[in-house]
Amino acid sequence: MSLFSLGIARGLVGQTLGMLVGMLLTVVTRVLLGWEAWAAEPAWTVGAVCSIIGFLLGVGALDDWLQWTKGIDTPLHHGPPADKPAWTRYFSVDYNHKVIGVQYTVWGILLLMVGGTVAMIFRTELAQAGLQFLGLGLYNSFIGMHGMIMIFAILLGVGGMANYLVPLLIGAEDMAFPRLNALGFWFNVPGSLLLLLSLFIGGWDAGWTAYPPLSARGPIGYQLFFLGVFAIGLSSIVGSLNLLVTLLCMRPQGMSLFRMPIFCWAVFATSLIQLTATQLIGVSFLMVSVQRAIGMGFFDPRGILGEISPLVGGGDPVLFQHLFWFYSHPAVYIFVLPGLGIISELLPVFSRKPLFGYKWIALSSMAIAIVGFLVWGHHMFVSGYNDILRVPFMYSTLLVAIPTGVKFFSWLGTMWGGKIHFDTPMLFVLGAISVFLIGGLSGPILATVPTDFPLHDSYFVVGHFHATMFGGFVFPFFAALYFWFPKVTGRMYNETLGKIHFFIMTPAFWVQTLGQMGVGVMGMRRRIADYDPSLGNYQIESWHLAVTIAGFAIAFGVLLMLWNFFQNAEVGVAAGDNPWRSRSPEWQIPSPVPEHSFAAPLRVVGEPYDYGLADSGYVSTATPGDD
């Protein structure tokens, strides 16, 4: 078996070739126009676009469609490839949603580790005041890199959970569009590689938000960053379309919307946002990219570009922020809604009690998704937009508290009166609630404009959104990994190691977030390579040291989890089909899940969370004749 039987290897070759072809195309065009042959920025930009296409062609994600254009029929291949070892399917284009789910998750975890490593590097730098080993330029590149890599990682993690779980939870054989599903995943690989590559051609120093005019002036790295984000955005759009169609059209008989497992509601709300808002970040970055490449000054007020831009003036830097946040605020809910869905999904299993207020939780996800579209301006309270806009955005932002509160109280209602078990997934759910609570509660103080003035763009904001991201994504994602690990592998992880991971990571995170918020209130700005040690009566340095140590503790916990999984995936204790005594459909079938998941079409015979109701079931996998 040669290396090139792996799709990803062919994809990487395709990406390299695509990059070269794109650059060549630029050079030829320039020569034909009588210009100087080599110009780095257009060459890299066109190269990056072609490299994405090159990767997709190389990996084979477009194969079937290309065949169809020639009128050749390509039946959907099921199962591992015939002439290669079974594991190779995880490195190639595969149409099974379970394989794609694992691909998303593993790629997401890899990016999580890269982003985490970057964070550890600059966190070490911040442990003491003064610049120790990072230069200013590298520091600025690293903070943006950490942010964007983590966003990619989160989107991939969300994609992993949604793709693996949704068809299983609704008893569908696969997603509605398996080929589109594979394409959706494979967009992520060239996209994240472009992002990483950007660091080596100058990086980009405007943070993940990449506000112009700064981002319109910086190094070429920006172009690869913009196009990397564009590729990930395409993945979000096709992925969410697929999930929406799957959820709407492929549920079995009897599974009304209010009888879906609650995670499906979270995915539905998330997908609605992804399908309709992602275009805006694509557009905003594309406009900066075009402004840089050919001088169309969308965000350029008075010809700052000078000699580069023939079309000077007339643009507005604030416009970018509107476009950018119209996606990037709802994006926060894209990240956290699935995580909150995981919390709602797991609590009844480990509390042995029905989910309290199912409809309220389901509709609160929709409410958050809808209100989330109306709050983007709270990122811009001090941006210089019309002062009066602060008021409606303050009101809409405060409204988010209400559906979020409903979730918290309903979770408490679920636990109250249950018989609570403390396995590792449940511990992470509880950790998630405590951490998301910190994130949520630190929100209103940023929403009311007078208190936002001192806190805006301070480290307090860093503390706030790390708490929402950890509570809304990282903790629930880890809970999901521990919970479904036995379903994916058929083996049990080591429970003791899992608990150690939890008891290291959770207190460490509390210290981290409290420290971050603290130094922010003391007067430390975001995104600075060095801080004034006299802030907070000289307490700021000890807090930074504490945050750094906590960060390393979290990283250690994550490594422990990965080691735990790695150790037990092949040789761990057999987990059995339903170790958690869950009522959910995926636990009623063998572990690991067979190629076609359900042997017979699913029938819904009860409510999803009727724990404590004797002789009741949610679904039956038996054919009607068997009863």
């Binding site: 506000y211 309220w360 636990m415 018989k419 509660l441 209103p444």
Partner: protein, 239 residues
């Protein structure tokens, strides 16, 4: 239900205790810089109200959660909990009651916002231009151009912010308020210093390589000292 009532009484007592503890912890960690403008008093007051609300809601959820975890833990049995799907009255209650808090904070914040940003008829105007990576202050009254911001105490100030390169942000932590400077337009920030002292203006919008070092000295001086300084500046210009 009688049992539940006992639980709620115990939990409520714990919530009160825990609220005070959380407030005390946050008050110890979230150390605000000294307040040096008139506007800081209402802002800090609102901040404090928020911290009380945070402490209470944190205590409410955490106490109920930990209480449930202890009282309703599975004691080695494999049975299930109470079969109960929810309670509409409760759901409505915890949807409506938070609305009251939201409205309260919305109203007082709006009033306060208009109050602290209201133009003052005799405000003293200084232009501040942010540039990578320093500040330049122009005094329209005297025509003085300085790298240090000198302001008279107890005088309403308006800073007109401009930039010729990228976004910057005017922030003196002791002044609380903050505003971006945006190329292509003039933005404003208003405050009334009420404490003589030396402060540091820190750019709070990522502006490239040396963003962390984009600082400027700010000196709030007495009216007399300011007039003296002002006449020195005028004398210098005339030389």
């Amino acid at each position: 239900m009688a049992n539940n009532r006992r639980h709620f009484v115990i939990a409520s007592v714990l919530i009160v205790i825990f609220t005070v503890l959380v407030y005390w912890l946050l008050d110890g960690v979230l150390l605000k810089p000294e307040a040096a403008v008139v506007q800081a008093a209402p802002i800090d007051n609102l901040f404090d109200q928020h911290i009380w609300l945070i402490a209470f809601l944190f205590a409410l959820v955490v106490v109920f959660m930990c209480y449930a975890l202890i009282v309703f833990r599975a004691r080695g049995d494999e049975g299930d909990g109470e079969h109960m799907h929810g309670n509409t009255t409760l759901e409505i209650a915890w949807t409506v009651i938070p609305c009251v808090f939201v409205i309260y904070f919305a109203v007082i914040s709006t009033t306060m916002l208009f109050d602290i940003t209201r133009p003052h008829p005799d405000e003293y105007v200084v232009n501040a231009e942010g540039r990578q990576w320093s500040w330049l202050f122009t005094y329209p009254e005297s025509g003085a151009i300085t790298q240090e911001l000198v302001l008279p105490v107890d005088t309403p100030i308006r800073i007109d912010l401009t930039s010729d390169d990228v976004l910057h942000n005017f922030w003196v932590p002791e002044f609380r308020v903050k505003q971006d400077s945006v190329p292509g337009k003039t933005t404003y920030v208003r405050f009334t210093p009420n404490k003589v002292g030396e402060y540091v203006l820190r750019c709070a919008e990522l502006c490239g390589l040396n963003h962390s070092g984009m600082l400027a000295a700010v000196r709030v001086v007495s009216r007399d000292e300011f007039d003296l300084w002002n006449s020195e500046q005028i004398a210098q210009i005339q030389e």
